[in-house]
Symmetry: C2
Subunit: 346 residues, 2 copies
DNA sequence: ATCCCTAACGTAAACGTTTTCGTGTTAGTA
DNA sequence: TACTAACACGAAAACGTTTACGTTAGGGAT
């Protein structure tokens, strides 16, 4: 087991100074061609690679991006990571991942672990618990220490930093308008509690769309699911609530669901009730994941372009990291949604 | 913007030496209680946190685990990451992620990027291209430099390192036996090319199960899908091949698919052919992802326990990292599969 | 007064780089 | 011959820690 070779060892072996070896490897013309070749040959032979940690310490930058997200077993978030990783890698950066599991404490701890030199900047999406508590001190502190943050999807106005969001409101609106145009008369929405910013915006889009067509929104058709506890039987609760909704409102002929799972569950309930999709009931979801694509019938959905969001976020962050200027202005990029029509609508 | 405070600054401010500050913060009894308190108060006030990079350099360990996987938008892999992250975090480790996208070159580059000091050890699953090329020099080199590797799922005999695998053969066997017991007479398998070790093993399990019941395997019922190119219309090709299989063998009444997507596609084809599931056709998949759970009808599947695999892998790695002894023996852990019965079988 | 011990602190090396600023040798020029 | 310039290289500092090993001053014992 030959340990990693260092400049010092090469220097000793070749009887030159460490500085000479370093310069030779970096093609400094200060060093004679002779020595340069000798050093390079030796380095190659022993697979010399500069130690990243030492470089990080010297340069005060790690070339590493920290990603902090609520969960990873989730199509949207993994798409975002993929997007980040791709552009990060292209620009010579690595990504390090922290999972908050929607917990405030884990979010804080993870941030502190990473903020102490391990990374150059954050890309993150806020946990539900943090959104509930309205406690953002860890973000503020991190920023005030000079470490840039880019937030995506779940963002918050209180923090001044770059943001990448989806046009949730307009995306939702587009979906509902589609249903209206498809002759749906009673459109329900399955959404989250309002503290989840994206859920709130999507609900708002739903209402605006209805208003635009002079339909007054019916509170009975708005189902806000409390998803704080993601337990095993969570799905069952969800299904029951949706079933209730349908039993109480048998004339529902269109549903807009703010995520895939809700949409699929609606399909399941519809099937149990013997409602034909899309003839008797049309459904549109949000987030274009595997479920939407492979459901039978496949699901019309509002695509969030997670990949692109990640890519944009990474670009924003890296740009800020590599720009000399201390421009304190924050940018907000809105990634357009796209309505992907499939079999669950006419 | 107050930059991160260092020992040096604290020392200067308090007019003591750096060493004194360091010792005071670490509760060395070498330092008087007076000074200790003073230093600690000051450190707390300025939110002092030791710089991880400096610590890494000094200790020659980064407390970071490198994960190298083919893709991340994939239920199984993200489950594994989740498992790894959980135990890693519990033991004070971070995880850094590299994606190979099934490409040999990206795998090698990513390894080299991470192996130069950024991490203490690897947990990885080999890319398809690497498996095809049989070129494992990067693994060997990394190991020979003293950096431990734990492989999971897609492993290879040529490399001596810890491994965590699933009992692919037995899992497949269990599934097929289930079909046999459920009175299926013509059981097909949708599998991958043989170079994917897990595909090969699962195919073997299929054959062994048949043999055990004195059924001779019919080559016409074995569909090996070439999934080298994961293009957009890949699904269409897949569907067409499966459709062909059914048209040529209309008496198929049971299918074992080596992954979720294949299984779902079989369901789609069956629907088009008007075959009732599970009455006329029973299906079992592999990997327990969202698709299996939420498909209609839901899919009976062999669960791989990705979470557990990740957790075990992390434990193996960390144990090796923290053990003084240079025990060169390699361990192989087999994580049991589990047949989860749902609606796609009787 | 001398010796020694101990408490409390400082010095310096080390981890592996890069880079600035010498410094010594050689060759060229007047 | 004497001076300068170019060349090739080395020494040392710096990044932020930890720690083995001084060093100093004071006090108690002899």
């Amino acid at each position: 087991m030959k340990k990693k070779v260092t400049l010092k060892q090469i220097a000793k072996e070749l009887d030159v100074s460490i500085a000479t070896v370093s310069k030779a490897l970096r093609n400094s013309k200060e060093i004679s061609e002779d020595t340069r070749d000798k050093v390079k040959a030796f380095a190659k032979l022993y697979h010399y690679r500069p130690n990243n940690i030492a470089l990080s310490l010297k340069n005060r930058k790690t070339k590493t991006i920290g990603i902090l997200i609520p969960e990873i077993v989730h199509h949207f978030f993994s798409k975002v990571i993929q997007g980040i990783e791709e552009v990060a890698n292209k620009k010579g950066y690595n990504v390090i991942i922290g999972l908050s599991n929607e917990s405030f404490d884990k979010e804080v701890i993870n941030m502190e672990m990473l903020a102490n030199g391990s990374i150059d900047g954050f890309i993150l999406s806020i946990s539900k618990e943090t959104l509930l508590k309205h406690d953002y001190h860890h973000f503020k502190e991190t920023i005030s220490q000079g470490m840039p943050i880019v937030m995506f999807d779940r963002v918050v106005n209180e923090i001044a930093c770059d943001k990448v969001v989806v046009d949730d409101l307009r995306g939702a609106k587009k979906a509902v308008i589609k249903l209206i145009e498809n002759k749906c008369k009673n459109i329900a929405i399955i959404t989250t509690m309002d503290y989840v910013s994206v859920g709130k915006l999507r609900t708002q889009g739903y209402i605006e769309a209805l208003n635009e067509f002079n339909i007054e929104s019916n509170p009975n058709l708005i189902l806000k699911v409390d998803d704080k506890l993601v337990s095993e039987d969570y799905i069952d609760v969800l299904e029951k609530e949706i079933m209730d909704l349908f039993l109480k409102n048998p004339d529902i002929d269109g549903v807009f669901a703010v995520n895939e799972l809700y949409a699929i569950t609606v399909m399941k309930v519809a099937r149990k009730l013997g409602k034909q999709i899309p003839e008797e009931l049309q459904i549109i979801g949000f987030t274009d994941g595997v479920l939407s694509r492979h459901a039978i019938p496949s699901l019309t959905t509002v695509s969030q372009h997670g990949n692109e969001m990640g890519a944009v976020a990474a670009e924003l962050l890296i740009e800020k990291l590599e720009s000399e200027s201390e421009d304190e202005q924050v940018r907000a990029v809105v990634v357009e949604t796209e309505l992907i029509e499939r079999e669950s609508t006419k």
